[in-house]
């Protein structure tokens, strides 16, 4: 992965589902070291916008561009982006550690996985099957999976979901520690997480 700074731009983004328009005319940009939060009432299209920014869904109109030195091909985006959200579920039948082994791309991910497991307090539960996890533990695992490959872009959809106050604090301090070297985009309705980010985009 190149070390050139990344920049993400979206222009005139719109999404329609069948006959109803979810949002239109969204413009945004963020470069390495910047952070962005996306807020809006339920059903305003936060998750959809996140998916469009991560290249998982296509916008009905407009386009998104991820640049690091040169433009990155869309099919490769997900190897530069750490994405997690309510619909990204780890495998229930596997243990936490096996899920991590599945998602780990670079060779040094194993070592970072150990550290992340300790940081997020999942160390003692690493060999338990995910189906026996509580919802908060599951959320912590999902965050670890997003951070695992040390991606230069982080896209977190409702990252504080189901977390207790200790978990929220861990998340915030982790994001604080990496914000200078990454692009961070968070979809949230939590004012604390909103404050964490430089700018806010309101939907709906």
């Amino acid at each position: 992965m190149s070390t050139a700074p990344y920049s993400l731009t979206g222009e005139g983004l719109a999404k329609k589902f069948g006959r109803s328009a979810l949002f239109k005319g969204i413009c945004l940009s963020a470069a390495t070291g910047e952070s962005l939060s996306i807020t809006g009432p339920n059903g305003s299209g936060k998750s959809t916008l996140m998916k469009i920014l991560a290249g998982i869904q296509k916008p009905t109109a407009g386009n998104v561009d991820l640049v690091s030195g040169s433009s990155i091909e869309k099919t490769q985006w997900l190897s530069h982006i750490g994405y997690t959200g309510p619909l990204v579920n780890p495998y229930d039948e596997l243990t936490g550690l096996e899920n991590i082994a599945f998602a780990a791309r670079p060779a040094d991910a194993g070592e970072r996985a150990g550290r992340l497991l300790e940081t997020f307090g999942l160390g003692p539960h690493r060999d338990k099957k995910v189906k026996h996890y509580s919802s908060g533990m599951k959320q912590r695992l999902k965050l670890i999976l997003a951070f695992l490959n040390d991606p230069p872009v982080l896209m977190l959809d409702e990252p504080g979901m189901n977390l207790d106050s200790a978990g929220t604090a861990l998340l915030h301090s982790y994001l604080e520690s990496v914000r200078k070297e990454k692009i961070i985009i968070i979809a949230t309705n939590d004012p604390l997480e909103e404050q964490l980010c430089g700018r806010t985009i309101k939907l709906g």
Partner: protein, 219 residues
Amino acid sequence: MGKDILRNLRKDFLVEFRSRFALNVSASFAAIVTIAISLTAGGVPFPANVQAIILWIIIFFSAMNGLSHIFVREEDQGTALFLRTAVDVDSVFVSKFIFNQAFMAVILAVVTPLYLFFLQVRVVHAAHFIFSIAAGGFSMAAATTILAAMVAKAGGKGSLFTIISFPILLPVLWISVSSTSAALNAAPPAGGSLLFLLAFSGFISVISFLLFRFIWLED
């Protein structure tokens, strides 16, 4: 890409081995049908071509019970998006393709001996028989991997997988039945049918590989 394929295969084998759901259903189905046919036939052996037809019908429906599971499971358990973020599209297809081939091999290894045992089948050309079964099974799994993805994206409802697989698998079934029945008869085995199956599965695998991104990636 190679590493991605291995990671995904390791995960699929782990998940599938822990639950064994698809395999249990397919194997039980095969056993029940074989025993039912043997029981109702009352121990009278069938002519060779009928034996070949029944064998392939059992293989077809046993496989239909399990081959779609590899993609339907990802959608049912909500892990498709995680898989999408972790493994690139081509690797997903290749690893699922390999997994389905392994799955098919297990089904064949269960069905064929059961069948030979219960239905008093006399194999004349053993090597030709084994090749027919293996090549037919390979083509079946090759052609249905992408269909499994379609069914999963369509909501994986009931027997949809069987319905959409049948027209595409018909040439495979035809050739496999005639080749198997030749192996059970004293008829001289023809190498042409194996060549046909290889050509068919090669062709359809390449097209599936190219079409897969349109199914796996959402708009």
